[in-house]
């Protein structure tokens, strides 16, 4: 009964293999229930104590997502868990899958026991005879091209929801991983990430330690055309930012300023990933000799792969339809490259000699900055928006020592600019030669972090062995997580130089949420 209830949960988490070596890349595909409002699903690697090791946010398309995880070289040998969840209900629903990772510098014979997940909520898969894999021989030679055909019964074809996952990879009978659904009634539901990753947190007053209202929090993604967002806090002091147009790792700066000069704030970010939550129970199993031998062979294969720098995957640049053509502070009235001119020692000299309409003065060590309002033909009385590498700065002392050698370019906007509800009485945007944000003052009001945004799509690298005496050490010879279902699906690939048992698996999901699969094995000798 419990198994039946889980059968149609609509969740599925599959990987290219069950056994890995540290330093390898893990490929994954996730099936998500149809009625889902989130655009983002997270894939994390955690150890069996729930400590997160690495992870990526993946984009959901057609209730499916696929991606990859780089398994760090430093991982110790043992069982690990892959977990997938959506941040808004991570406390209530998580899917985990057990995998084995061997450290490539460990002795293969060292491990004698493994931990297997002991859980009732196993995600059920149904083997179907309506998908037949034809044309696969029981044995192949190494480096031999081969092909086959996947035939799907037309009756089943109408039942399949979305795309199929087809993989051909090495397999080990002594360790067959399973996926489990972890459910809990505790925990609150958060805001679904409908459009993209939501970065949230709270601003507190450092004196009172209470939530700070009416504070404008800024998020900057420094770049040649910087990304920028702002959020004005309400009584709860919370702020939210949406990261919907970024892919891969991005540097981000979150900061706020007090409403009065002596007001000091503290920014605290919410967890970027789900907490460990309730962990599954484990049982211990003795490691079989065949398993140990396979590990030894895999370690050798991966070590040689590293030596010959053979790539496992190739990233595909995502289609960006909404490239920013100009920065949020508007098109610059003037752009000055100070390096084209004579060397000047400080910003006062630069503003005097090179920046028309910019007045930077440092009388009595109290710097001031003004920009010309070209519309009104006078100088703004207020200090303009000052940016260093796209990041707003209020302390003018930061720029006073900057000479021409430190500055790559200066953008000047000589008008009363608006961005949403923010007003900028002129803009001076300085882009430094180092672009390392070393000028930024560290404080509780400013957080610098590297964010993992939506993972760039990737495909399995094809065989590209330039010399015949270099072995092809792929353990996954075919991986297509986005195969459109059809009555006949021909597949072509070639075996690698790694001998052993391989499995071709076709996986899919039916409209009622049932996960189906069909598989065939062969041996490479």
């Amino acid at each position: 009964m419990a198994a039946n209830a889980q059968k149609n949960s609509g969740f599925g988490l599959f990987t290219d293999r069950d056994i890995y070596v540290s330093g390898e890349t893990l490929l994954a595909k996730i099936y998500i229930p149809e009625a889902n409002s989130s655009r983002i699903i997270y894939l994390d690697l955690v150890n069996r104590f729930g400590t997160r090791i690495s992870g990526v946010p993946l984009e959901i398309k057609n209730s499916q997502a696929d991606g990859f995880l780089l398994l760090p070289d430093s991982l110790s040998t043992g069982n690990y868990l892959l977990r997938t969840y959506q941040k808004h209900n991570a406390a209530k629903h998580k899917v985990i899958r057990e995998i084995w990772i061997s450290n490539r510098f460990d002795e293969p014979g060292k491990a004698i026991q493994m931990n297997r997940v002991e859980n009732q909520n196993k995600i059920q898969e149904k083997e179907t005879d309506q998908i037949s894999i034809e044309g696969i021989e029981p044995q192949y030679q190494i480096n031999q091209p081969f092909g086959g055909n996947i035939r799907i019964n037309p009756a089943l074809l109408n039942e399949i929801n979305g795309e199929l996952l087809v993989s051909v990879a090495q397999t080990d009978h002594s360790f067959a991983a399973e996926a489990f659904l972890l459910q809990s009634d505790s925990g609150n539901e958060g805001m679904p990430e409908k459009r993209g990753i939501i970065l949230s947190g709270i601003v507190t007053d450092k004196k009172t330690n209470e939530a700070a209202a009416n504070i404008t929090v800024y998020l900057t993604i420094p770049d040649s055309v910087p990304g920028f967002q702002y959020y004005k806090t309400k009584n709860d002091g919370r702020f939210y930012f949406l990261l919907d147009k970024y892919y891969g790792s991005v540097e981000a700066v979150i900061q706020c300023f007090g409403n009065t000069p002596d007001q000091r704030m503290k920014i605290t970010l919410d967890d970027l990933f789900a907490a460990a939550g309730e962990l599954p129970k484990f049982r211990q199993e003795a490691i079989q000799e065949t398993f140990r031998n396979n590990i030894a062979r895999n370690i050798d294969a991966v070590t040689f792969q590293k030596v010959f720098t053979q790539k496992q995957i190739i990233s595909v640049a995502p289609v960006l339809t909404n490239q920013k053509t100009y920065p949020y502070y508007g098109k610059a009235t003037e752009t000055i490259d100070p390096q084209l001119f004579i060397d000047l020692p400080d910003f006062t000299e630069i503003s005097r000699e090179l920046l028309p309409g910019v007045k930077f003065r440092n009388y009595n060590n109290e710097p001031s900055l003004q920009v010309l309002n070209s519309q009104a033909r006078n100088f703004f009385e207020e200090t303009p928006l000052l940016l260093i590498d796209g990041i707003p700065i209020r302390d003018l002392n930061v720029i006073k020592e900057m000479g021409t050698k430190d500055i790559d370019r200066v953008d000047i906007c000589k008008s009363d600019r608006f961005y949403g509800d923010l007003r900028f009485p002129g803009v001076v945007a300085i882009y430094t030669t180092k672009s390392d944000y070393s000028m930024l003052p560290e404080s509780d009001q400013l957080i610098r972090l590297t964010l993992e945004t939506i993972q760039e799509p990737a495909t399995l690298a094809e065989t590209n062995i330039p010399e015949p005496n270099i072995p092809d050490l792929r353990q996954v010879v075919y991986w297509n997580p986005k195969l459109k279902p059809a009555e006949n699906l021909p597949i072509k690939c070639s075996t690698s130089s790694v001998i052993g048992h391989y499995k071709i698996i076709v996986r899919g999901k039916l409209k009622d949420g049932t996960l189906i699969f069909s598989e065939k094995q062969f041996e490479v000798k």
């Binding site: 959020y231 709860d236 949406l242 009363d416 600019r417 608006f418």
Partner: protein, 238 residues
């Protein structure tokens, strides 16, 4: 005594409910929405005539360059500057929206009729991005460039008694536009419409207009005539 206890308990309950309500509020309205970029709009000099398409702030929506749409914005189109101006209520400022950040906008007139404006590159004189009102959509579009010019005129005294010699004059221009073939200007009369077709088609179009009892007297009747002609498959010669 018991009343006092009840009062204290009630107060404590009210405070705890209040603190719960304050615990986490719903995020700001439209926090995810793209922000409008622009510069402060400085009022145009007052002359005879009118520099705007509409005489008041009207609700409309804008489409950003990436296709995102922002709704319920109070705006007016400056025909003189060919710029869209919106009123930001929270900071009480009239802001001229950066043309580069928009694809177009929709604005309702006082009769609640929606006018669609698209930003398009104009390769004639003067080259650059312009807001064209899309009068008819299709393979060949009929576009209007609602231009107002500042022209010299005979000296006059304005309402404040100041002597002036400039006035805003409307200079609406109409074009047939095809993405492949570009723009061809057209005037709003029967002979100008006929001149946009090959000679062999002109006779048939005349007959068609006559049959439908269509007289081209103004913009609306020109649009009707063009729609009828287009429906019958006649193609404009660029």
């Amino acid at each position: 005594m018991s009343n006092r206890i009840k009062y204290i308990l009630l107060l404590a309950l009210a405070l705890s409910v209040g603190s719960l309500v304050n615990a986490q509020e719903t995020p700001n309205e439209n926090w995810e929405a793209q922000k409008i970029k622009g510069v402060r709009y400085l009022l145009d000099a007052v002359y005879n005539g009118f520099p705007f398409l509409n005489d008041s702030w009207l609700p409309g929506r804008i489409e950003f360059a990436d296709g995102e749409i922002a709704d319920s914005i109070y705006m007016r189109y400056s025909s003189y500057k060919d710029e869209l101006i919106y009123f930001n209520k929270s900071i009480s400022a009239q802001i001229m929206i950066d043309k580069a950040s928009l694809n177009g906008f929709w604005v309702a007139d006082k009769d609640k009729k929606m006018h669609v404006f698209r930003k398009q590159y104009f390769d004639g004189f003067i080259k650059g991005d312009r807001y064209f009102e899309v009068l008819t959509d299709g393979e060949t579009k009929l576009l209007a460039y609602r231009k107002v010019n500042l022209t010299a005129t005979t000296p006059y005294h304005d309402i404040n008694g100041i002597l002036k010699n400039m006035e805003y004059t409307t200079d609406h221009q109409f074009y047939f536009y095809s993405p492949e073939k570009g723009y061809t200007p057209v005037r709003l009369n029967r002979s100008a419409l006929l001149a946009k077709f090959v000679k062999t088609d002109q006779k048939a179009i005349k007959k068609l207009l006559r049959k439908n009892r269509m007289q081209i007297l103004d913009e609306d009747s020109f649009i009707d005539a063009w729609k009828t002609t287009e429906k019958d498959g006649f193609k404009v010669v660029f």
